[in-house]
Symmetry: D2
Subunit: 333 residues, 4 copies
């Protein structure tokens, strides 16, 4: 009765998903795996009694596979998602949906032709209880219409190959999706400010302050600080007409010692979003068993790529760049 899942890409993230699906959550079995590294795929498959497929396409086509998770290398995502849509199977795809707007549009077109949602994007923050409480606060009307959303994304450190563009495509992409989710709004322009550099990152332009103008006029600011050492700290505040709502600290205990009270801040994204990942897959499993998807869609993946690719232009130009979006298909209303 479990949902039979095939996973394409069994690197670190793929393996963590397998762990979650097989040892944490009810309702799913991982029956198939595939990876560009065939040896690793074999090893992982053996460990969980799954079947190993030579290609993602073969895995998608396998009759035993009811739903697919795509956690392979980013540039390959769209191909597998398109194949899953062609096969009429639910597919969970880690970000990005595709690296180019054109490839994202191809997915939109295919899914619209299919006529119902099959694709879910891995924007796990939409399943985080804190962001959901923020959205619920907005819905309640207690703070009025949202005017400004200030998001902060702080990471202890990044590897040497990380560039300012990554700050948009890999890091702020989550804040961009969160802004759209919280505000029920679409961005129309983006600009990126590069202040004094954190000396811990050498020549890396870090932090960045990204500004999004939304269709409603609401303003989004995204601070990305990727070498800030102290913790993995996700901040957010929405300023409304009559009040504000802010992400709370979520430490377990307060310790008083040595002249201060103190509470823990998460060390990394796994600690911070562990429960959100659980909820994300629990809700996806339920939706996929019903043959569909829930939460972030192809449309959300498309907009994310449209915004980040325009943002990369904005970094280069130093100017405010307009974001062009196609009309949203009714499927994603």
């Amino acid at each position: 009765m479990n949902l039979k899942i095939g996973i394409i890409g069994v690197g670190m993230i793929g393996q963590d998903h397998i762990r979650r699906l097989t040892t944490v959550l009810a309702g799913a079995s991982v029956v198939a795996v595939s990876d560009v590294n065939g040896a690793q795929a074999e090893t992982v498959a053996a460990g969980i009694g799954a079947r190993c497929y030579a290609t993602g396409e073969a895995l998608i086509a396998a009759s035993e596979v009811e739903a697919i998770i795509v956690t392979s290398w980013g540039p390959t995502h769209a191909t597998y998602v398109l194949a899953a849509i062609a096969a009429g199977k639910p597919v969970f795809c880690e970000k990005p949906l595709a690296e180019t707007v054109e490839d994202c549009e191809a997915v939109l077109d295919a899914e619209v032709r299919h006529g119902k949602r099959l694709v879910q994007l891995g924007f796990m923050r939409r399943f985080d209880s804190q962001y959901r409480a923020m959205k619920e606060t907005l819905r309640s009307g207690i703070i009025g219409a949202p005017l400004i959303f200030q998001s902060g994304h702080r990471n202890p450190s990044v590897p040497g190959y990380y560039t300012a563009n990554n700050a948009l495509t890999d890091t702020a992409v989550h804040d961009i999706d969160t802004a759209r989710f919280l505000l029920d709004d679409e961005p129309v322009a983006i600009s990126v400010k590069s202040p004094r550099k954190n000396s811990r990152g050498g020549a890396l332009a870090d932090p960045l302050l990204t500004l999004l103008d939304m269709r409603s006029g609401a303003l989004v600011t995204i601070e990305t600080s990727v070498n800030i050492a102290y913790a993995y700290d996700i901040r957010g505040e929405i300023i409304g007409e009559t009040g504000v709502v802010t992400l709370a600290e979520r430490n377990d205990v307060v310790v008083k010692a040595n002249g201060v009270f103190s509470g823990r801040v998460p060390a990394d994204w796994k600690e911070r979003f562990s429960t959100a990942f659980d909820t994300e897959f629990r809700e996806w499993i339920a939706a996929a068993r019903a043959g569909g998807a829930t939460g972030p869609s192809s449309w959300d993946g498309y907009v994310a790529t449209a915004v980040t690719t325009t943002g990369v232009k904005a970094i280069a130009s130093g100017a405010r760049e307009p974001i062009k979006l196609r009309e949203r298909p009714a499927l994603y209303a």
Copy 2:
């Protein structure tokens, strides 16, 4: 490969456990149910495709049942636990282990004779991340040895049949176990203070302040306020030699509106301990699959009953009553 579980008692709590085991957590299947209300047992069994047994004993004896959960009426617990031990099957028993010290001792004797732990008690707070962080803080040494533990247990309202004795046997029993868990210590005496009554409870002696003297000399105070209206609020602070550790608030967001900032306090025990229940069963499933148990033991159930029954005497006498405990068997070291 799932652990095949039989559940004795399918009232509200039993059904919630079934929901958790079948739709939330990996690794377990509920294959058998039994209830004193046979019709209800049939209904529940049908809903999940489990087999229905006429008696708890028959369920325990069934070869397909690998592990047992006892959530029946309190006075029946010990009988089923003893039967499970006799059958050599892991058994999870909601509090109390038994309502009398003698019955608890019978379980201890049986399990000691069996030679290894099979029994786990439903003290879910031991699996709560906040209490675990408190214990970790103690272990770290940063606040020195624990001298006083102040526990607060606040409930919005209780039904009319609830008595002051229930405040010990049903409510403070959790704080008593928590104190033993956090302090690694045993109580030697108990007294109960009954202050001014909350007018919301009519003649009910509420709140109560229960004092436990621990073997180390540490003092435990337990405030039970069972009709306090505002929320379900579990408080705790350990005062050490050089610092203190306190349970933090765990609200998702802070809202600023109408002149104040505010954050949510849980509405009921389900909201407060939902994640602890998940962890409790996840760890039990793993332990039961290995043929044993983890966390709170028969010994913890025995001490809880010894303390609460002495506490009931202390309410009646108004005096400090010594708590007599047998020697702890090596099995529970």
Copy 3:
């Protein structure tokens, strides 16, 4: 136009009062000083251009002195207060009013005979904005009637001559007055629990948990921890019928670094109560200029001594000791 003040006792506290009256607050001048240590009195007087008197009695009698502050050695307080009443001059007296109940009663009798309040006791917490906000919360009715008040008084360290009795007469005396102030209630019995000792204090019985039964039935618990190292931390929570009110942390900033967020806790009583002292003297100056007193009265000083002396008996007896209070004169209604 300034109030002309004479100060008896110019030790550390007296000098701090002089500093506050002459360099911080409007409306007062220190025109006279006296001290058992004549040389020190001369030095202090010279520093501020005040006149030095050989005895407290002479200072009180001096026509230029309009109001008196008594900060001399505790056993001398009552004598000076009685002399001030005899002279019809407002007098601010640091705690204790007197060390025996009998001496306190002599002051009550004298002031009642005088027919209006002249005496104000140095219970500065009544002027603290946090305690005032607690009382205001109670008055608002939002938490219903107060049932339990839990007070915590934590001090980094005490000198070697400090005894368990001091924990009542010097330390908990403030919490006792605070309880009476917040609850508008009088204590009827006291008991003192001595848990496991803090090893930092050697043989000192520390911490203590003092329990006060109030006339209304409300229960007060006072934790005194006088060698707790980490800070000077004053805690308080009132548990009502429908809610609770708690003293907040009052740090200026939150710092996030090294994996935690943290905020400062006061280092000592001067830091914690600096603003309360300002308010205390500001309100006293205004009252004394009008020929009277405000806030804590002789009656409050009398009750404090009655409770602490009974508490010292309770430490010795290990029992709950009834507190005998005379009828409260109408003057103190």
Copy 4:
């Protein structure tokens, strides 16, 4: 021995200063007042036994006046400050120093010619314990060099005549000075974003997000929300290389009732900065008695006007406008 002060301008703010100087703080007497409204000046003077002068110039010239406070209408400030400098008397001037950069420069020139500081500007936040703690945290090095400072200035409501320009000249001017104070840095460019308007303010462009580029490269964002209803809320966070420091909430108590915990946010600027005003005048009185000034200087007043007038241009142009500052005279190092 008190500092003899003359006050020019006895409107609401002037009268509040008089109250503070005569009934709250030690060390000062208000001996002279002047106001464009002569009748009001007479009334105020009579109330405190001060002498009334027909013009500010006459007041400044009066031999009894040792120091001057200028709280008259903004456009008149520079004239009075220049007169005070010409008279060699310490002068406290509420913001702005002058409404044009040229007038500010005239003051700089005059004070530099005088050779020592006489002028103090009314930027009271520099005396606020919370901002001082922020600066102290920066100095400690624990968060590394400051990279971004996010300031928030929220006001419940503004009158109908308030314009977007006022949001800079009257409101954000404080955040601008605070940024310079905290970061020890000067702004080089300013831009102003105008997001979706708060419907409570009709056509008013509110909120605004002002961006300042600092000489070091540090970025300052200033959110002004002047009709936000819920409270007067001053926010601030500095993002450094290894940590962040944030203004804490400063509520007195936490109340738990009706499902939430809550704490008060200040209702208005008087509540928020009351203690800062006390400290500001206490330190000014000490400095003025010594013939000088402390804290914010003419230079700070000049830069504030240079930034806000450029900011007004930026509102009109919608562009990033460079801020031109003269070389800072050594007097203000």
